[in-house]
Symmetry: C2
Subunit: 355 residues, 2 copies
Amino acid sequence: MDKHPVIIVGSGPAGVGVAALLSQCAIPAVILERGRIGESFYRWPKETRFISPSFTGNFFGAVDLNAITPKSSPAFGLQREHPSGRQFTQYLRDVVNFHALEIKENVDVKDFRVTDDGSIALITSKGRFFCRALIWAGGEAQYPKKIPHTVRVGSTYKTFPEGHHVIIGGAESGMEAAYNLIRNGSTVSVIDPSAPWEKWYSDSSYGLSPYTFARVRFMEKSGKVEFIPECAEDISENTVRTESNFIQLQYPAIDSTGFDTKQSLAGKLFHFVDGHAELTEHDESTKHRNVYLVGPTVQHDKAIFCFIYKYRQRFAVVVDNILNRWGEYSPVIAEYADQGFLLDDLSCCDGECAC
Amino acid sequence: MDKHPVIIVGSGPAGVGVAALLSQCAIPAVILERGRIGESFYRWPKETRFISPSFTGNFFGAVDLNAITPKSSPAFGLQREHPSGRQFTQYLRDVVNFHALEIKENVDVKDFRVTDDGSIALITSKGRFFCRALIWAGGEAQYPKKIPHTVRVGSTYKTFPEGHHVIIGGAESGMEAAYNLIRNGSTVSVIDPSAPWEKWYSDSSYGLSPYTFARVRFMEKSGKVEFIPECAEDISENTVRTESNFIQLQYPAIDSTGFDTKQSLAGKLFHFVDGHAELTEHDESTKHRNVYLVGPTVQHDKAIFCFIYKYRQRFAVVVDNILNRWGEYSPVIAEYADQGFLLDDLSCCDGECAC
């Protein structure tokens, strides 16, 4: 019987990050990964880059925005500011190796049960695994709302035929697609009723990042983009209709409207409210005790943790709760807090830029 | 008589940053600036960009690396990651306006005296100014060791003739010059015995930033650069000699070997040891009481504060000392500390990246 104190499902930045913290707290954990380490990042189009810049500020407490532990830095290992997906998987492997994390690749978790003794049984493609605590770090990038989605682009945007493309959704991934298609010779219409290209927020969870905003300006200058601040009311194989536009499609519209995590096993692990998993203040499931969520899908009221530099701040919240429940203690939690890697007070979100 | 509690000399990021903190602590201060706000940045070549990336992470405590107050962000105001010098002066003006800072431009501080009542008199191009505490924020970029220096490039690198250029010094400014000359069609030799292009440090104070490293790789691929890891033993108008090279110069060598702050009034305000101003633990001069230093020239043993995201961490050390000495108190100091804007324990510099 494959029994573990903690099982983490998924070896993206959230899974590897929380595993690295558990390891430092001397809590044995195993990661089950359906593919390879960082599989979703591995499959990013080769043009795609991180929108948050990596920088080696660790030395004086300005930890790399894309780091998943306070003492590591993608900028340091990869020697670049905006890693590609494949480069970032190299960083994840470095963290796995540095902390000697136990990880089982090619294990597909299909279902789960709570057993009589209260432990959690995971039914997988490689048999059953049991644990006292389950941490779901399945991400969301594998559950696009519609297909074809930008995460299904394949190995490169160059596989898209030249011509006119219509993109539904103007957030980061829609702009990413638009930019690369324009660079490859196409023209693009981007449809989004919230018009992200017009607004500028301090918090990149609500608006475009500086990196993407620079691309918006590039696209506008190119004259090859049309931004339509309307809702796509009807989408078929051949046409898209908005309030004041009727577009004959040369190619199927590209969907960049986001993800639906509920489709995954997460749908059974958590209550979903307004598309988001309902969680306790410790990011534990309200549906099953000892089941936790880490990663970009964590949300508390208005606090969205979709960027790495934010969702990493919840690893210590989860691990601290596990430690407390088991009557254990680790000074590493306080270290994480000192280094800005623990955000538990969500009442104060007064961080808007003054100028 | 123009008398002030605190006078700050220089309105670069250090001067404006410490003034913004003083303002929040309700200590009246005036900035005397020889030129315009952020004059040195204003005169950067137009190609030059910040090597540390700006990003609006303020919302969750990951303050913009180039911000000079915890609540501001150049990325937010300027909508870009790597601001140019002129763009950064816009950010400085925004901070000045937001905090309603008092600043006198076109005032050249020429000398100083300590008066009988212990106050400090500054002799300037616009008459005398008196203060209880003087903060020197004169920077160093106006004091190159030799001429022509990269900071004397002028408005653009395009003013350099095409051909072969020799650069003495391979740190950030040398690489910046090399990169831009190559982009404009020249070939370049970079001479530096410490061979920064070969080494990779976590701390950008000791090595090249990720931004510059990417340029080094670009230059290497271009085949238009030669890196010479030797000392330039002899430099004349027409030749440069190293241990194994004798280079006939097509144009005068470009000096990128750094700065000599001692040349400025700072030379009278501070003891200089090994080229660095000697300071108390509160960054006060060891030569004159109530004279402080803020900015990239602050150094304590191995702790070098040359990057903005580091030297901003000393603003609160200075202001806290002034408050204590005057028997005053402000909760803003604790806020700065909470936000990673106060570094007073220099014993612990254990911030190297693990991976």
